[in-house]
Amino acid sequence: MQIKVVGIGGIGGALLPTLSRFLNFGFSDVEVTLIDGGRYVERNRNRQVFDNLGSKAQITAERLVQDFPRVRFRPQPAYLTEDNIVSLIREGDLVLLCVDNHATRKLVSDHCEDLANVVVISGGNDYTDGSVQIFIRRDGENVTLPLANHFHPEIERPQDANPGVAGCDELAESEPQLLITNNAVAACMLNVFYAYLQGRFDFDEVYIDVVTSNTRAVSRSKAPAQAG
């Protein structure tokens, strides 16, 4: 199994330890590629765990491989861009998209529509609520809706910027985030990941609200999905 985790911020950092433990003790021949061009800095400590300052992809991989040696961790210290996405997101991948901007979600969604078989589980949050989308392509057909669909014009026509584009790196930290919401979205992404592995899902997206403790799965596809 080839898993690509894109974005190691509040959501990605919360998701990775549980995902890695699950994979380490339940699967063989798993590679997890960590894709993030960012660097840990002191101000990240309010929401993220790291031993040293520096490349998020590299430092996180070094930490995880010590605890979960049966999983191969491959750091890719780069932001996804039009120039590298073809080599980083490939046929058969399962992508856990934990980025902080719609421009990258749009990039991944469009690229994956050109692949025959791929799964994308994408999480994002605002301050106290968030959502998770699951986009499945099988044999060249959309089983569920792409991330960029007409229900989500904010992703179809993103108004923000990809941090991989020169000068946009600092946008990521411009708004406050709640650690608890990051955790809730990460947990929901893992729920969706597990449901996919079990072939038990019939939804395109899940909404989460940490204040009301409500979670709601929504199916917007015409045909209910069945995992393979």
């Binding site: 934990c98 719609h102 994408s122 999480g123 994002g124 605002d126 989500h152 909404y207 009301t212």
Partner: protein, 73 residues
């Protein structure tokens, strides 16, 4: 859903109402904006189909205001 009940959802939150029949979507959007945290530009769907704010709600309708995907991570 029981007769006369109209279900309203936005994001993770959902509630059934017995007194919305005959009201326009735009009024519901305004009245519930704060309680349901409904964005002003959220698309409105009834039974999954997009409607405008002048749509008049009927018995058994499920009105959803589509919340944008979470932005940050």
């Amino acid at each position: 859903m029981a007769q006369g009940i109209i279900k309203v959802t936005c994001g993770a939150n959902s509630q059934e109402f017995g007194d919305l029949e005959g009201k326009k979507v735009g009024k519901v959007r305004r009245d519930l904006a704060q309680a349901f945290n409904i964005p002003k530009d959220a698309k409105a769907l009834v039974q999954g189909e997009q409607v405008e704010d002048n749509y008049v709600l009927r018995k058994g309708n499920h009105l959803e205001f589509v919340k944008a995907a979470g932005t940050k991570g």
